[in-house]
Amino acid sequence: MSETTANPIGVYTRPKGNTGWRDWITTVDHKKIGILYGATAMLFFLIGGLEALLIRLQLATPDGTVLGADTYNRVYTMHGVTMVFMVIMPLAAAFANYLLPLQIGARDVAFPRLNALSYWVFLFGGLFLNMAWILGDAPDGGWFAYAPNTGTIFSPGKGMDFYALGLQIMGIASLISAMNLIVTVLNMRAPGMTLFKMPVFTWMILVVQFLLLFAVPVITVALFLLMFDRNFGANFFNPEMGADPLLWQHLFWIFGHPEVYILILPSFGIISEVIPTFSRKPIFGYPFMVFSGIAIGFMGWGVWAHHMFVSGIGPISIAAFSVSTMFIAVPTGVKILNWLATMWGGKIRFNTPMLFASGVVSMFTIGGLSGVTHSLAPADTQQTDTYYIVAHFHYVIFGGALLGIFAGFYFWWPKAFGHLLNEKLGKWNFWLMLVGFNMTFGPMHILGLQGMSRRIDTYSPGFGFEFWNMFATIGAFIIGLGVLAFLLNVWVSARAARHAPPVGPDPWDARSPEWFTPNPTPVHNFDDDIQIEALDEFWHRKYGQDENGRLVRVATAEEVCQDGSATDTHLPSPSYWPIVLAAGLPFIGFGLMYSLWFCVPGGALVLMAIYGWVFEPTDDPDGPHGHGHHDDHDDDGAADEAAAEDAEEAPVG
């Protein structure tokens, strides 16, 4: 049902386009793109984690001298930016890309080339931003970059330019993929799959795409204004000229708060798949799960100023935002309790995915509850900008989003790679991470309430901070061991899989439609369209009721699963142009920072790519670039235009 199968042009010849690095850079296959997203994000995770370890080393003892003030400020800024924009978001994108088409029974996303484009744009944006380290000028204004500290007077280096342009580029990626996935979900579902038969994961991803669709332009505005201030002398955030620094804060947090739900909802989606599977029960209260997700998405728009309780906005505004924030606990609580109810009465198998998912339920609750304590504006005047906040958001992000993503890794690894990850190492991975995580961030509650400010490169002895900081640092290294256990696991399992029999189609006795395809998923996904009758279609085909109404197995997974043997499926062809287009953007970025001349090759690349894109023959990447017989094929022509327009407009302005 992808648009290419709708315009039958060319048969994808497997061996030719499916091996080697050429294939990876030209692929438009949502699964490969998903894997690329995941691998890239994990790489950035190591960088962000290394930065975190440096932070912890510096803070382990009072009057720390590991980094020095200037470096420290850059390190923590890049840590925040990396973890948020280059780790959690793209990891979510990895899962969304890989699984969403599979879960809705589609052959690919609606616009495969745009999908590739969004990955490459993200990659080049991330590389661009990290280039700041090499060029010696990493951003140092904190991840929310409050004006006017980020203006040229107070941040004269290039660091904040990297920040503004890098995030701008990555914003394009998010926006493109949001539009793409929304259309995919709405238009590409398998026959019979109504919206309310979609898996919860798909639902959560859909909500996230809407949040991105509407939130990204807001930070785009903010970043543009910052960029114009810095590079062209505009006065958006220059208070001496009469500007109001709070404008930045509003724009940033109008984006920023929906952003935190962008970070968490994918993970909520993941564990909503994992928990039922390992409890052997359907998700409890599917409609409530879906609607609470939507409700979170909506309410997330009305609470942003809870980040500004002390910034001097009027007391009435504060009161309104304080109250609106509190009620976000309600839909989130519904989710937590529904997960518990799903487990209740089940038969829980504690495989690694389930361990991680259980970790989310309990750890996120801690973070959520501290969030509620921040939402009381008067209380927050004591808490804000202390380590109590740092504790809150690591509990929700690490304990919620990241643990959930690890649950997803273990759960879907066989889907992507055809073998399971090692359970034993998986348990090491989980327990080391869980213990280390609580050791690191648990004490931060105490530190914060004892008055330790965040974003301080050092503290003096005598404030009562010594013990817990050392403790937290030790914890951070234990997390590091957990991460190493994961990496080891990936390697060990891949090696072991070479000699082991294949995992078979259904290692977990799973429920949702992605498991109709064999493991690993063949390039063409489904041999045949699946007809969806119910939520958990896959499971329902395996189980029925006997004459006493008792649940019995009616079919084996092998019978239900497709065997992946179809060979004549029409697939979208690879394309060079997404990577070429994306590669142009960093040059334009450098051009705006250093010399407009750099914009010339950048712009040329972008233009060339757009031209190539529009006139690309769609059958064979290596074939002659003549005009084929399918002149009328321009299925994502409009998309191209939209994308092209973004691509051009964003950095050039």
């Binding site: 052959r107 949001a178 259309v183 709405l186 509407f214 505009a234 009469g242 500007a243 404008l247 409009a638």
Partner: protein, 201 residues
């Protein structure tokens, strides 16, 4: 088989809507937030002109009215070009496409003239928060119009190469959506920024 599936299960599953059109509409939904941000920024800053010219001093309402009118009419010609193509009337399609592009160019010309006049009257990009916000907002809109012109010209070229046929009228429709969107944004800007009385110094 996918074709068959698409058609026969059309209503149960997908929306039955064109992917491309849906994509454009999602994009336009997103653009609302972009222009909303710029417009709000302008509104917050319109009275912060410092020692520079104030909006009320400098706006030339009759002039802007004319160029607003031009842009408004370009929406008409845009829709006429689409309707021509849908009838298979390639000739009129081209004529109206060209007219639309020309009207757009006229609007941009007006904006360039407006900007240079303002510059001469002492309102530079860096003069005040008001000036920065004004030029950024209208500049963003101008860039959108310009991109629209590029799209229209591409359509024209495509038409002359014989590839813009009745069957592909959806492409024109989608470019049209973009174009009309840019027009309604201007409808907003024209009223809220120009016509609503602005502060004077």
């Amino acid at each position: 088989m996918a074709d068959a599936a698409a058609v026969s299960h059309g209503h149960g599953t997908g929306t039955g809507l064109s992917n491309n059109k849906l994509l454009m509409w999602t994009f336009l939904g997103s653009e609302c937030l972009l222009f909303g941000g710029l417009i709000s920024t302008y509104l917050i800053y319109r009275s912060r002109f410092g020692d520079g010219p104030a909006p009320g001093d400098i706006f030339d309402i009759p002039f802007t009215s004319v160029s607003s009118f031009v842009l408004l009419m370009s929406s008409l010609t845009m829709v006429l070009s689409l309707s021509a193509l849908q009838r298979g009337d390639i000739r009129n399609n081209r004529i109206w496409l060209l007219t639309t592009a020309l009207l757009g160019a006229l609007f941009i010309g007006g904006q360039v003239y407006e900007f240079t006049t303002f510059l001469r009257e002492g309102l530079g990009y860096t003069t005040s928060p008001f000036s920065s916000a004004f030029f950024t907002l209208t500049g963003f809109h101008g860039v959108h119009v310009s991109l629209g012109i590029v799209m229209l010209m591409s359509l024209l070229i495509s038409s002359f190469r014989g590839t813009l046929t009745k069957e592909r009228s959806e492409t024109v429709e989608i470019v049209g959506l973009y174009w009309h969107f840019v027009d309604v944004v201007w409808i907003f800007i024209f009223t809220v920024i120009y016509l609503v009385p602005s502060p004077t110094s």
